[in-house]
């Protein structure tokens, strides 16, 4: 890369076309040190990206915006983010509780309760990857007037990491060895092992800081009884007024919010329940509400509703992927009381040619066009986001001819009825399961048709979502039992770091009877190379090298056809035309930037 190109890149950063982080990562990839790269930016006047420029409105006073009406078609049931069973609860708690840092749409860190995001440059991170020093924002108050200090941060860790609490965020906190209180507003976190993915605890939806003075009597088994689970007291831009579990939550402005002249709205109402389509209608057609969450509605329907003219559909990038899993074990043979046992091999899928043929028969373009519209994009990668983790080495195509050729060459002859026979001479019949959902059933039909053209007979099976995704060890129809040849569902990527997301192909995670099918790898793929890469990535601190490892992991599972990635999903929301400043991020709650939302008259 020559000087001109680097200058061009710096200009891109200045003009906002390239994020600061990716510039620095590119430079580091070229062998420069990160401080040097930062220096290059500072000399041309690009400020340290610590606070986000507030888009649009720059108010001179707090409040005055009236009431903001939010519609979630799943109703929140409790307001403690660490007990949240779904995004609905995390979102409903967000106006009140705040993390130390949030994630913006590109996965960058935005300090909220932290004074600044820890970096190597500011001494917040150490080279050994074991400590993170948080400098907290000063002058922040809880809604009851008590000051926010390092003690609250330490307490939040102790509370969440206690197994008796049964918090769902425990994985983010349990690897912390200790947190030292340096002073009132400085806390030094020490991890048990060097940790590349340190930005998990205290970040985004998993990082809500709890007030020590209110939760200290509600630890462990007693955590459920904390009155603040339903009536939270936090540091956020809004205070809770009234909460009816399963129905609605009402908030009012926090007059002493720690960001000057924010927030804009005086009250926030979050109504829950109903269905996605009528929620879209209430924003797009009748304008009864200003914002509706997660529009899981067929694109055709959504498009027609948007013609109502009251609102628009906004898409945000996520890492969520609709994909087909290929069973590596034999679902039709029972070994020691379980089918799909890791002691078996799938009779057909152990042949790589057969697996490749299946990948060729998935018509991703048609699925993307006809079923998901702008709500998704056809992809050949399992790991698609953030950008730096997306592989450029894979390709995908849909070709019945090539699939036929592969199957012919591999010796799967056609029987008298045109359908192919297995090596044992029996007619092949693949069972393809998914959850009950009109899009998925249409998707199944598209694949079944293509397979029939290649001489593969397929039986489609759909299981009610509440069964398919359940953790009930006694039910053989769950996705983690995977008693079928192929299955399809959407995996959500919860944080902008792929470490946990990619654990679903680890040998040690194979779901089986011994772990009550509770583990994360239903394909039961076992590849020592993959396992090694995953462990190495956990302790790799060079972001460029680490990204390369994840790209390699993606390439392994895609090329080995353990999965056939199908559609890279976006998160759609319905937003009133007057509402601005949301800056929706696929890596954080929809309400992460709520203090900056405003309405144009």
């Amino acid at each position: 890369m020559d000087e001109d190109r680097i200058r061009e890149l710096i200009d891109d950063v200045k003009g906002g076309r390239l994020s600061r982080r990716s510039f620095i990562e590119t430079m580091v990839g070229l062998g420069l040190t990160a401080p040097l790269a930062t220096q290059m930016l500072t000399t041309v006047g690009v400020a340290h990206a610590q606070t986000r420029p507030s888009p649009g409105l720059n108010p001179t006073k707090r409040g005055g915006g009236g009431r903001l009406r939010l519609l979630w078609w799943q109703a929140p049931t409790l307001l403690n983010g660490h007990f949240a069973t779904g995004t609905k609860d995390q979102d409903a708690a967000r106006p009140v509780y705040e993390p130390l840092c949030a994630f913006d749409p590109d996965g960058n860190f935005v300090p909220i309760l932290a004074g600044e995001a820890p970096t190597l440059q500011n001494g917040g991170l150490t080279k050994d990857g074991k400590t993170v020093t948080w400098r907290l924002k000063k002058g922040v108050q809880w809604h009851d007037g008590k000051p926010f200090t390092a003690d609250d941060v330490i307490f939040t860790w102790e509370w969440v990491a206690d197994p008796a609490t049964s918090s769902l965020n425990i994985t983010a906190y349990q690897d912390i060895d200790r947190i030292d209180r340096v002073d009132d507003h400085t806390a030094k976190v020490t991890f048990k092992e060097p940790r590349a993915f340190w930005y998990d605890a205290f970040f985004g939806v998993r990082g809500y800081i709890l007030p020590k003075h209110l939760f200290k009597d509600y630890r462990g088994n007693n955590a459920r009884n904390a009155p603040q689970n339903l009536k939270p007291i936090g540091t956020g831009p809004y205070k809770i007024v009234d909460f009816k579990p399963g129905d609605s939550a009402r908030f009012e402005i926090n007059p002493s919010y720690h960001v000057p002249n924010r927030p804009f709205f005086d009250q926030v109402e979050l109504k829950g329940g109903g269905d996605a389509t009528s929620a879209a209608r209430a924003v797009l057609q009748t304008g009864e509400f200003d914002f509706a969450w997660n529009m899981q509605v067929e694109w055709d329907v959504l498009k027609r509703l948007a013609e109502g003219g009251k609102g628009i559909i906004s898409q945000s990038t996520t890492g969520n992927i609709e994909h087909i899993q290929v069973n590596q074990t034999d679902p039709w043979t029972e070994v020691e009381g379980e089918r799909s046992s890791i002691k078996t091999k799938h009779p057909l899928f152990q042949d790589v040619a057969f697996r490749q043929a299946i990948a060729l028969l998935v018509d991703r373009a048609t699925v993307a066009e006809e079923l998901y519209g702008p709500g998704g994009q056809a992809t050949g990668n399992f790991l698609n986001a953030p950008d730096k983790f997306r592989s450029k080495n894979t390709k995908w195509e849909f070709s019945i001819d090539k699939a036929n050729k592969l199957l012919d060459e591999a010796g799967y002859k056609r029987g008298s009825d045109g359908f192919r026979l297995g090596k044992d001479g029996k007619r092949i019949k693949l069972v393809f399961q998914t959850s009950t959902n009109s899009l998925r059933q249409k998707n199944q039909a598209i694949i079944k048709q293509a397979c029939a053209k290649a001489g593969l007979d397929m039986e489609l099976k759909s299981v009610v979502a509440s069964v398919f995704f359940s953790s009930d060890p006694a039910n053989p129809d769950t996705y983690s039992h995977f008693y079928a040849d192929l299955q399809m569902f959407n995996t959500t990527m919860v944080s902008p770091d792929p470490q946990f997301f990619m654990n679903q192909f680890l040998s040690g995670q194979a779901a089986q009877k011994s772990n009550k099918w509770g583990f994360r790898n239903p394909t039961r793929y076992r590849n020592p190379e993959y396992d090694k890469l995953w462990s190495a990535a956990e302790a790799e601190f060079d972001p460029v090298k680490r990204a390369a490892m994840f790209v390699r992991m993606n390439d392994i599972v895609v090329n080995d056809v353990v999965v056939v990635p199908e559609n890279w999903r976006r998160r759609s929301t319905a937003v009133s035309k007057q509402l601005h400043g949301m800056d929706l991020s696929g890596w954080d709650s929809d309400l992460w930037h709520l203090a900056y939302w405003y309405r144009e008259a």
Binding site: R67, L71, T77, L78, F83, T85, P163, S166, S167, L168, N169, I170, T171, A172, R206, N221, R224, N229, D242, K244, P245, G246, D247, S248, R250, Q267, E269, K271, G273, G274, S278, A282, Q285, T286, E288, F289, V464, A465, S466, V467, F469, S470, S471, D472, N475, D477, T478, Y479, S480, T491, T492, M493, V494, F500, F501, N503, N515, K516, G518, R520
Partner: protein, 319 residues
């Protein structure tokens, strides 16, 4: 009479026990899991889900779980919701006012429609009024509430833009504007439920009046020269309404949880929507509490209906 009531109450105990056993086993055997969302979340380790199962007692054998539920229920402890970790009785009490308001108004509306129309069309059977009333009533109870509900939304919210179709429990207004806003949002759900119930009730009232109007004593009254108004009011309607009162008494428990579909369509935060949400989330303690309260009400009002019937109609004896 007291003896009869006592006997019925004593019989009710084993009946309710039986009902609770059936409910409990059906819920326990039904597939589904309160921790469904956790399963696909990569960040939640399986141990947490398993610990929660154990903590909520889902791993214990069915009979043990039932006995535990029964003993705490007898002691007045209804358990807590898996979803909100709130006590079930609080959750139900929070929803009760809305349910009573919407369903109560719907029943009042149903009576206001059914009584005059039913009586008038029975007094002049096969007249034009009767023909129209019976036809409309026929349509009314043939159309399910989910259909009429959606039609109402389409017409009154989307085409005409007169009424909101999302029911909000807190409204940002005070004084008469608060009342108007509440009335406006209640119109559609109340109308949908009220007209459906009203249609059924109209046919019932009509049939019942028709039966009495032909009886000899009515003719005798007319022959005596009693005015038509007096004949209908005093001799016909009073006797014809005895079975109608019974029907209404039997319907009262449905006010508690009878509007699952309508509440879902209009997002009314009543007990029906609590029930359906709890069923979808496999929130067993909530489902159990609502269905059990409902069965207690059904059993109780059956008894009340029988007692009222005997009181209204002296020909019935309880011995």
């Amino acid at each position: 009479m007291p003896k009869y009531v006592l006997r019925r109450v004593l019989i009710a105990i084993p009946v309710l026990l039986g009902i609770s056993v059936v409910l409990f086993s059906v819920l326990a055997l039904a597939p589904g899991d309160p921790f469904e969302e956790l399963a696909t979340n990569a960040n939640v380790p399986p141990e947490v889900a398993q610990r929660l199962r154990a903590q909520f007692g889902l791993d214990d054998p069915l009979p043990l779980r039932y006995v535990r539920w029964l003993t705490s229920m007898v002691r007045g402890d209804w358990g807590f919701s898996f979803q909100s970790r709130m006590n079930v009785e609080e959750l139900i009490l929070q929803r009760l006012p809305v349910s009573l308001f919407v369903l109560g108004s719907a029943y009042v509306l149903a009576l206001c429609v059914a009584l005059p129309i039913g009586i008038l069309s029975a007094v002049r059977p096969y007249s034009l009024f009767d023909q129209i009333a019976t036809t409309v009533a026929f349509f009314g109870f043939s159309l399910p509430t989910f259909f009429t509900g959606l039609m109402f939304i389409l017409v009154f919210s989307i085409w005409l833009d007169w009424l909101p179709f999302i029911y909000r429990s807190d409204i940002d207004a005070t004084g008469w504007r608060w009342i108007v806003a509440h009335a406006k949002q209640a119109i559609m759900p109340v109308a949908v439920l009220g007209l459906f119930e009203g249609a059924t009730l109209t046919r019932f009232v009509r049939a019942s009046v028709l039966e009495v109007v032909r009886l000899d004593y009515v003719n005798t009254a007319r022959a005596k020269g009693v005015s038509e108004r007096w004949v209908i009011g005093k001799h016909v309607v009073r006797n014809a309404l005895i079975p109608v009162v019974t029907i209404i008494a039997l319907q009262v428990p449905t006010i508690f949880a009878g509007a699952v579909v309508t509440e879902q369509i209009f997002r009314v935060p009543g007990i029906g929507s609590l029930l359906i949400a709890a069923i979808l989330a496999s929130d067993t303690p909530v489902v159990m509490a609502i269905t059990f309260v409902y069965s207690v009400l059904v059993v109780a009002f059956n008894l009340i209906a029988d007692v009222i019937y005997g009181w209204l109609d002296p020909r019935i004896s309880f011995s």
